[in-house]
């Protein structure tokens, strides 16, 4: 089976956030980067599929600075890695376009990606890539198996519901965290990764579909303690709720 997995080298949500001087981007100096949390599960799932069915796992990442994350994938058992040296930023459509450019040059049975990325939480790239490739897809997958030319996936829905879907191959699934327990990177894996291929796939991307007008810290909201006699407090509270448009 030919398995592709999309990974992002992305800032940790625990990083210090600082808006750059241009007011339109984040200052990267304070950010700590790692493989996107959801992609870790996708890589594990991809490697497990290979361990079960044989074949090859290829990791694809878009970014000029994603070598460490791709090497981590190789150390976790991915066979080769493709880096698309482009910076789509928060433009999910452009990121998807970059990925699709790679996938069009390759044969694949299934593409896995993380459900979303830990920086922007858009959950778009996987779905957009599937649409551009015109292949079936399932999002937020918590269980996955491949048998007889189709993938069976359990999707997580709102309110604790699950949905089971079958997708003919080739297809794309975005993986929810918790689908498996990602393995640790081993020293043996790091050494093995050294001999594996990590190649660039340059692309010419079209026009941006998103432009950022302004990035800013949300105004700090203050808590208010309402004091007074119970009746007074209740009245103030009702007034407050009404003023926010919750009560009419």
């Amino acid at each position: 089976m030919r398995i592709f997995v999309l990974v992002k080298h992305s800032p940790s949500p625990e990083s210090l956030l600082r808006v750059s001087a241009d007011g339109k981007s984040l200052d990267p100096t304070c950010l700590t980067y790692d493989i996107n949390e959801w992609d870790r599960y996708a890589v594990e799932e991809a490697v497990r599929l290979k361990e079960k069915h044989g074949g090859e796992v290829v990791a694809v990442s878009v970014g000029t600075n994603c070598d460490a994350t791709l090497r981590k994938c190789l150390a976790m058992g991915v066979d080769r890695a493709i880096k698309v040296p482009a910076e789509p930023g928060f433009d999910a459509s452009m990121a998807a376009e970059a990925v699709v450019d790679v996938l069009k040059c390759e044969a694949f049975d299934i593409v896995l990606s993380g459900f979303m990325s830990q920086d922007a939480n858009n959950a778009l790239v996987g779905a957009l890539a599937a649409a551009k490739l015109d292949i079936p897809f399932a999002t937020a997958v918590t269980e996955l198996s491949v048998e007889g030319g189709e993938a069976r996936a359990v999707r997580e829905l709102e309110g604790g519901y699950r949905e089971e879907v079958a997708l003919p191959l080739p297809c794309l699934v975005t993986v929810q965290s918790g689908i498996n327990e990602p393995r640790y990177v081993s020293i043996m894996g790091i050494k093995a990764a050294k001999a594996k291929e990590l190649k660039d796939h340059p692309v010419k991307l079209g026009d941006a579909t998103v432009s950022t007008e302004r990035i800013y810290a949300p105004p700090t909201r203050r808590a208010e303690i309402i004091s007074g006699a119970p009746l007074e407090v209740a009245e103030k509270l009702i007034e407050l709720i009404r003023s926010k448009g919750v009560l009419r």
Binding site: A68, R71, Y184, S186, I187, K191, A193
Partner: protein, 396 residues
């Protein structure tokens, strides 16, 4: 972590892998191993299966062959989370002696199982009357035909009650003209008749690590267990420490970094006088100075490790790194506890454990005073160190 000017992609990957492992696994064991003084065998097995244990040991002897610095980076990351648990990377302690001075047969027999984490090694230098002054060793190894018979007591031995292999410094020539002469190193296997160990309990810190008193009563070892050259034990021990002190410096950098991170987090969240602690100028200075010292210590430790990986550790640079990093670690951990106030003192916070764990760093692998002495000897040309290369000032 900033100081990665000299790190290869692979070394960075090792550091990150070690960090992820320690961050996810150590919290499961830290508190209990400390409280119960329990050696974390399960954690050791996990770490070994991922290749963390024999990182610095050459591949031909079962290790990962990644060099000393890679090993040190793992030590730093492990100690950043917990010092006692970080000692699982010291189950190879002593195998370096065999690698440096042992015969090919000894290396093939003893090193691979230790490098794979299947067997545990320990080094027995210290005796009740011989600590810093290891030339005062009284344990004797008397030649009896094809055997040596070892008698004596060793104390404060890391891994002493759980080890499979004991690397032992003993006196082979009692009448030698100088105390540092006539010492030799042997390897003794667990279960040798007359070899006994008693775990020492109630240590102040690194309580997950095993420390024991080891007794040798007429322990017979074949001649083939002599490691290196008879009578050269003291010099071999000095070379051994020049190497192993480097990872001790990284233990110090790791625990200091961990304590700093806890302090920063606490200072940003704890409020007093209607402000965050991090808004007080006094706290801000503490944090700034702590972080600066850690970075300086890390650079010294890196320098010592890089020097060793280039061929041979420099005794002066090693002593400098170990002295300074261990000193910085005391200061930083203490200041971090200070920032935690009463919550740091009451004992349920990681910083309380760090405060106890950090203390050993200025005692073992050469006390602070001994490191200073080695530094001074290096400066004065009494030891073969780059530090001895001092230019004469033109205005002298």
């Amino acid at each position: 972590m900033l100081s990665d000017l000299t790190l290869s992609e692979e070394q960075k990957a090792v550091r990150e892998a070690a960090r992820e492992f320690a961050e996810k696994e150590f919290p499961k064991y830290a508190e209990e191993s400390d409280r119960e003084e329990k050696f974390p065998f399960e954690l050791l097995r996990k770490a070994a299966s991922l290749g963390f244990v024999g990182l610095h040991i050459p591949e031909e002897y079962g290790g990962q062959g990644m060099g000393l610095l890679a090993y040190c980076l793992a030590v730093e990351e492990f100690w950043r989370v917990d010092g006692g648990l970080g000692m699982i990377l010291s189950t190879t302690f002593g195998s370096e002696m065999i690698l440096m001075f042992g015969s090919e047969e000894q290396k093939e027999e003893y090193v691979p199982p230790v490098a794979r984490g299947e067997k545990i090694c320990c080094s027995c230098f210290t005796e009740p009357q011989a600590g810093s002054d290891i030339a005062a060793v009284r344990t004797s190894a008397r030649r009896d035909g094809d055997n040596y018979t070892i008698n004596g007591v060793k104390t404060f031995i890391t891994n002493g009650s759980i080890a499979d292999y004991y690397v032992v410094l003993a006196r082979t020539s009692p009448g030698a003209p100088k105390r540092s002469m006539g010492l030799s190193v042997f390897v003794v296997e667990r279960g040798a008749p007359g070899l006994e160990a008693k775990k020492l309990t109630n240590k102040l810190g690194i309580r997950a690590s095993d420390t024991a008193e080891v007794y040798f009563k007429d322990v017979a070892v074949p001649q083939g267990n002599l490691v290196g050259v008879e009578g050269e034990g003291f010099r071999q021990a000095m070379d051994f420490f020049n190497l192993t002190r480097i990872h001790t410096a990284f233990q110090a950098v790791g625990i200091a970094q961990g304590a700093f991170e806890l302090a920063l987090e606490y200072a940003k969240n704890r409020e007093a006088f209607e402000r965050r602690l991090a808004d007080f100028q006094v706290t801000r200075e503490k944090l700034a100075v702590m972080r600066t010292k850690i970075e300086a210590a890390r650079l010294l430790a890196l320098q010592a490790a890089v020097e060793a990986d280039r061929g041979k550790p420099d005794p002066g640079l090693t002593a400098m790194a170990k002295y300074f990093a261990a000193r910085v670690a005391q200061d930083v951990v203490s200041e971090s506890l200070q920032i935690h106030g009463g919550y740091g003192f009451m004992g349920d916070q990681a910083i309380s454990r760090m405060y106890r764990d950090v203390r050993v760093l200025e005692i073992y692998e050469g006390t602070r005073e001994i490191e200073v002495e080695l530094l001074a000897r290096s400066l004065l040309g009494e030891l073969p160190s780059k530090l001895g290369a001092v230019r004469r000032h033109p205005l002298r």
